[in-house]
């Protein structure tokens, strides 16, 4: 089941890659480079977020409290 889902997602990723996106020249990417367009603007905040949700939710981070301390309370 897991492998089947992986293949499905990889197929979707391929479709994204092959989709007819607009050609964006390097000098047209100023807006994409703005700090508030970043996919992860704050690594430390993302890290503490992941640690918090890993400790309190069954699904956060893809599994339970693996590594990085128990977080089991």
């Amino acid at each position: 089941m897991t492998l089947k889902r992986c293949w499905t997602v990889l197929l979707l990723l391929t479709l994204i890659e092959l989709s007819a996106c607009a050609e964006v020249q390097p000098w047209e990417r100023g807006r994409l480079a703005k700090p508030h367009m970043a996919l992860d603007a704050d690594p430390l905040l993302s890290s503490i977020d992941a640690h918090t949700y890993n400790s309190k939710e069954a699904a956060s981070g893809g599994n339970g409290p693996a590594g990085g301390g128990c977080g089991c309370n």
Binding site: M1, T2, R5, C6, V9, L10, L12, L13, I16, E17, S19, C21, A22, E23, V24, P26, E28, R29, R31, L32, K34, P35, H36, M37, A38, L39, D40, D42, P43, L44, L45, S46, S47, I48, D49, A50, H51, T52, Y53, N54, K56, E57, A58, A59, S60, G61, G62, N63, G64, A66, G67, G68, G69, C70, C72, N73
Partner: protein
């Protein structure tokens, strides 16, 4: 040298589980830099009407994080990050099925007080157009030690419209529960995790980009919580979960820039599924609105819904003798909302960020799944202050 790009390095960061992976992929900055962040996390007390015994005051955690990144030469970049946490408060043990008042939560005493320290080193380099990063990490607390290693790579296509990213990670964990002899807990145990991921980041147009990726994680060993117990037909037994778990997650992130308001919409979604029958959907939406040259305000909302593990029950009273069991509320069916307001001040070489969170969880917020009364579901608030300075 070329560092891991901001787009690719953050790939899957919200879905990643192993500590090395998370920090490794969140690894890009514009220049050499140092960051520090202080976070205060506080759980709401358990309501008296669902408390059977123990201390209702739950966890309070103070965290200090730092991160230092420096180019060593033209080819190599070194990143060092660490965290020191101090934790105190009480923790849920098991659910007592009171025939008159319904399920009541038994808590530990307020004797838990511990610290955790983690350090990680990442070496990044580039070879033939592919950026590589190798990370090693170590985390220790009085009852838990973890050693982790991770590798991630990325390849940016020549037109720079698409970046491919991939990674693997491994963690070896050792448990030595507190007061094992006194309470009859397992004295020593081990577990390990291995994870692999693949993703793609694509520029859609001059105002939008998308990132999508999958991750598979396999855990092996003692996966039960040595402190959790369960009421089974009149007796109390330690938590007993399967000794393997395989999880799948698919994360997609979308960024859209709005020219008129100079604002950005962030939309992140994660689907999660594992062989314990846990299925979850997590959606995070944020609106980043700059005011002037230096200040930005970002309200955000996060919704999480999960379906219970197939061996979860608050308590067993009907004579069943299952192979596995757990009354850990984190494996229950429930939903949760998190509300956040962030403010960031950016100057020439430094920035300051303040984040305030409120998190509420409830059975009624779940999309689907077997519903039980779960008295230990947690509500918390969190406040966090971050500071960064950069140099060439």
């Amino acid at each position: 040298m070329k560092k891991l790009s901001r787009t690719a390095s953050s790939l899957l960061v919200s879905s990643l589980s192993l500590p090395g992976f998370t920090e490794l992929l969140a690894a890009e900055s514009e220049a050499n830099n140092f960051q520090y962040r202080y976070t205060l996390y506080d759980e709401e007390p358990l309501p008296q009407n669902v408390l059977a015994q123990g201390d209702p005051d739950r966890y309070r955690i103070k965290s200090h994080q730092f991160r230092f990144e420096q180019d060593l030469n033209e080819r190599f970049t070194l990143t060092v990050e660490g965290i020191h946490e101090s934790m105190s408060g009480s923790s849920p043990w098991y659910v007592f099925p009171d025939p008159d008042r319904g399920p009541l939560q038994v808590m530990s005493g307020a004797t838990i007080s511990e610290t955790r320290n983690e350090i990680g080193l990442t070496l990044g380099t580039q070879n033939n157009g592919v950026t590589h990063a190798f990370r090693g990490g170590y985390s220790t607390e009085n009852d838990y030690d973890a050693v982790s290693a991770a590798y991630t790579g990325e390849y940016e296509q020549q037109n720079k419209h698409t970046t491919l990213s991939w990674g693997v990670s491994y963690s070896d964990d050792r448990l030595s529960p507190t007061d094992a002899e006194l309470f009859g807990r397992i004295p020593h145990a081990e577990r390990n995790s291995i994870s692999a991921s693949f993703g793609l980041t694509r520029i859609l147009n001059r105002n939008a980009l998308i990132q999508s990726g999958v991750q598979i994680t396999h855990q092996d060993g003692f996966l039960s919580d040595p402190y959790k117990e369960m009421w089974i037909n009149g007796g109390v037994f330690f938590d007993k979960r399967p000794d393997q778990r395989t999880a799948f997650s698919w994360t997609t992130r979308f960024r859209q820039y709005f020219v008129g308001s100079n604002a950005a919409l962030h939309a992140d979604y994660r689907f999660y599924d594992d062989d314990w029958s846990v299925t979850a959907h997590t959606l995070d939406l944020a609106w980043h609105q700059p005011f002037g040259e230096n200040f930005e305000l970002a309200p955000s909302i996060r919704y999480h819904s999960q379906r219970a593990a197939n061996f979860y029950q608050p308590a067993i009273t009907d004579g069943q003798q299952p192979k596995y069991w757990s009354s850990d509320y984190r494996l229950a069916t429930y939903g949760a909302m998190r509300y956040r307001l962030s403010g960031t001040w950016r100057a020439e070489i430094w920035s300051l960020a303040l984040n305030a969170d409120i998190y509420n969880s409830s059975e009624s917020l779940a999309l689907s799944g077997p519903l039980f009364d779960t008295p230990a579901l947690v509500d918390f608030w969190r406040i966090s202050l971050g500071w960064q300075i950069s140099w060439q």
